[in-house]
């Protein structure tokens, strides 16, 4: 059991009314929760790191809950999600992969069993690095209107011995989605894909 030491937390919410086209009746909202934590494995190669995934679960859950609350408190408005991590320079990419399970677990728990895989990305980077968090529909990965991304970053993180963890939720399709494909209204909801 390793302690999860949080240095800072950031919440960003974007409310998008239009992008040159008609003003949306219901603006699209995207929210990101970021946590800067100490990387317990920074500076050396540690073979067995798996246990830290369990240690991160409470933080994943708390960040997912904070996203729902930033979007107004009702989990039913959430239609898209994604996650990511930036590992500071004394860590390795594999440390970012530790976020897959606890980040996904936290969001599914809060959203009541979303079916689709949580789109994700990760990298090693310096303070101020930006990360484009991919976003897909929570119940069917192929819903084309919900393919989206949100850029996040923190000017002073991650430091060399830190990891920046990110979860993102959105409330709907791109604001002027019109490139066809599977629609949210056509989801079968059996396999998490269609």
């Amino acid at each position: 059991m390793l302690e999860v030491v949080v240095r800072k937390k950031i919440t960003c919410v974007e409310e998008i009314f239009h992008e040159g086209g008609p003003v949306a009746e219901k603006p699209l909202r995207r929210a990101a929760a970021l946590a800067v934590i100490r990387n317990p494995f920074a500076g050396s190669y540690v073979a067995n790191i798996e246990g830290f995934m369990d240690d991160l679960k409470p933080l994943g859950f708390e960040m997912a809950r904070s996203l729902v609350s930033a979007l107004g408190g009702d989990a039913r408005v959430v239609e898209g999600y994604g996650k990511g991590a930036i590992v500071g320079s004394c860590g390795e990419l594999e440390h970012g992969a530790l976020w897959h399970v606890p980040g996904g677990y936290g969001m599914r728990e809060v959203l009541g069993g979303a079916k689709a895989i949580v789109a994700s990305t990760k990298k090693v980077g310096a303070p101020g690095s930006r990360l484009d968090i991919p976003i897909t529909h929570i119940n069917a990965s192929y819903v084309r209107s919900h393919f989206d991304a949100m850029e996040v970053g923190v000017n002073d993180a991650p430091r060399a011995d830190e990891i920046l963890l990110v979860l993102v939720m959105t409330t709907g399709p791109r604001v002027h989605a019109r490139v066809g494909g599977l629609k949210a209204s056509e989801i079968k909801g059996e396999d998490g894909l269609r």
Binding site: V6, K8, C12, E14, E15, F17, G153
Partner: protein
């Protein structure tokens, strides 16, 4: 609403540790940013009254958003700041028209008080330009523990014909202030300076 708003973003930062010391209670900053159409883009406009009126409107909207993001009542805010970034078809003076003549009054109305000058910065820039919003104590500009700044950026703004307008509010100063000077419990609050 005079301003044609494309999107509004809010950011909250909460610092819980610094140099491995616990910050209790955590320091918190919030910024609200509106991306609006610049009605004066692409030409020289002598009378900037339209932008001044937009500034008044955004002063109230953005301060309310920032305070709501912190979950505090307006009068509990401790420091504030404002900034604007004008897209490439606009003029620095457009940022000045939004920020300086009328934006401050509604900010102070929402926060209950605010005898001190609202620190500000402005620039012209492209998509993803970084705004460093200066921060100072709202009732006494010389409170040294509250000299600070908050960085915000949006990857897709400002477009050439847009302006990004930001208001930042905090409920605290820097995490570990120790460079002396006037402290907040010494504020007289008469002249906005001390």
């Amino acid at each position: 609403m005079k301003a044609k708003i494309r999107k509004i973003a809010t950011f909250v930062e909460e610092t819980q540790r610094e140099m491995d010391r616990e910050i209790a209670p955590p320091t918190r900053k919030a910024a609200a940013v509106a991306v609006i159409e610049n009605p004066c883009a692409g030409k020289y406009v002598e009378d900037l009254a339209e932008l001044m009126a937009i500034g008044e409107e955004l002063g109230e909207l953005l301060t309310e958003r920032a305070v709501a993001a912190l979950g505090i009542a307006g009068p509990s805010a401790e420091s504030y700041g404002k900034a604007a970034a004008v897209g490439e078809n606009g003029e620095l003076e457009h940022a000045a028209a939004i920020l300086h003549p009328k934006l401050g009054t509604p900010v102070r109305r929402v926060l209950g008080k605010g005898a001190a000058l609202i620190p500000s910065s402005k620039k012209r820039g492209g998509l993803g330009v970084v705004l460093d919003i200066p921060l100072g104590h709202k009732d006494a500009a010389f409170v040294r523990s509250h000299f600070d700044g908050m960085e915000v950026r949006l990857n897709d703004a400002p477009r050439a014909n847009e302006i990004m307008v930001a208001v930042a509010v905090t409920d605290s100063g820097r995490p570990l202030p120790r460079v002396g000077g006037l402290t907040k419990d010494q504020i007289k609050g008469e002249d906005g300076l001390r």
